[in-house]
Amino acid sequence: MGTSDGKVKGSTKIVDAGPNTQRWNVAIVSEGYRESEMGQFAADAQQFANTLLAAAPFDRLRAAINIHRVDVTSTDSGAKDPKCGTSGGTGAKPKTYFDASFCTQGIRRLLVGNSGRVMNVVKKLVPQVHIALLEVNSPIHGGSGGSVATFSKAPGAVEIALHELGHTAFSLADEYEYSRDCRQGGHEKHSQSEPSQPNITTNKNRATTKWARLIKATTAVPTTVNANCKVCDPQPTPVPAGTVGLFEGADYFHCRVYRPEFDCRMRNIGMPFCAVCQQAIVKKLTPFLPT
């Protein structure tokens, strides 16, 4: 198992915006690709790079971002897919370099590889790496966060990587207001403590809240109020998409905590980052732009 089940081949800079010492360096690493499938990984990594650089605000920060493809072969294709209770699972046990597996801790869609092993490989090949992602050669839907955002090749799974990038690289909080679902108890009211992340707040003062400068004078504050804190707020947005305000419900709680827009990639995958999340990303990446 593990490192005897494949080989580290090397890295290729597939998006070159300048010296690694001065740019923000993303590494996309292969898992569960056989030697004969590395051409496919090259295409998959390029597709990931294109998706990332097309997403706002990365589309206007291209000059700051290098993307490196890290080629690691595996003996077999795919990822382990144990029988996962009543949730499915084929029982497949391919031999792969990073031992990625679905059904981690009994959760069918939780696809996790050995993050320590990934970081060891990447640090040797791309010493200036800021963030590493693991692309798993499996058509089964799954992924996970943590220091190494992990995603499969199922349709839409790349969105998992972009959401997790928001957490790992930019310290963005979750903007959804539930845990398992909107009916689960215990998620009524957020504590008074202000969260440290830039995209959620308990402060509903228009003048002093975290993203005050992005709220137009004509926008109501709070912009939405949840009338029943026992459940998620079911109301549709009362303002046009893209309006920045204070929308009640975020950070796993239904009430007393606010998000900046009605929707955002940190609330629902497949959505763009809201203006406040974009602002936080731009702030972190500005030093990496050429002077």
Binding site: G10, I14, H130, E159, S171, Y178, E194, S196, Q197
Partner: protein, 186 residues
């Protein structure tokens, strides 16, 4: 045009990273600044960094390695007004315990996991959280490599003992407190 780099002769990928100490830079050999010198915030765009790699197993955090790397460090998170905030972050501090640089981190020591249902199975909810009490892995903290930086302090909100967030790190509701301090190697 792409640039390719071959793998080292043998890329080790064991479970535990090897503790690495790079050759100290000339700056790190210099004598420490006078005690009265005012602490300067670690500037954005510094191209000298210390990368600390931590492992975690449940709530326990261990320093695995610290490496000096020539690379640009992202700008600091706010250095004021965070005393009563909740969350998880790392602070680069000087010998007088003044915070020079701060990086907010999405808490890696959680005991739940973010899960992304298959869109066909859950068309209305694209994300959910599930209990995952046995999480382990690594995370990385990057801080500027300065003469003045002396230690890295890790802060996180303590677990709630009662109420809706009892025992679940993602829901910890109180202000963060220091839980580990790691001396930087010079």
């Amino acid at each position: 045009m792409v640039k390719t780099r071959k793998a080292p002769a043998k890329a080790k990928g064991g479970k535990a990273a090897v503790k690495v100490r790079s050759k100290p830079s000339a700056a790190s050999k210099s004598t420490k600044p006078p005690a009265k010198k005012k602490a300067a915030p670690a500037s954005a765009g510094s191209t000298k960094a210390v990368r600390l790699t931590f492992s975690y197993d449940g709530p326990a955090v261990k320093l695995v390695s610290q490496d000096r790397v020539e690379m640009t460090v992202p700008p600091t998170d706010p250095l004021k007004g965070f005393g009563k905030q909740k969350g998880f972050w790392a602070e680069l501090r000087n010998k007088q315990d003044k915070t020079l640089y701060r990086q907010v981190i999405h808490n890696p020591t959680r005991n739940d996991a973010e899960v992304f249902p298959d869109p066909d199975e859950s068309p209305e909810q694209s994300i959910a959280r599930e209990a995952a009490p046995k999480r382990k892995g690594v995370f990385v903290v990057l801080v500027p490599d300065t003469d003045e930086g002396d230690s890295v302090t890790m802060c996180r909100s303590p677990l709630d003992k009662t109420g809706p967030g009892r025992g679940i790190r993602a829901f910890a509701s109180k202000p963060a407190i220091k839980f580990r301090r790691f001396k930087l190697m010079k």
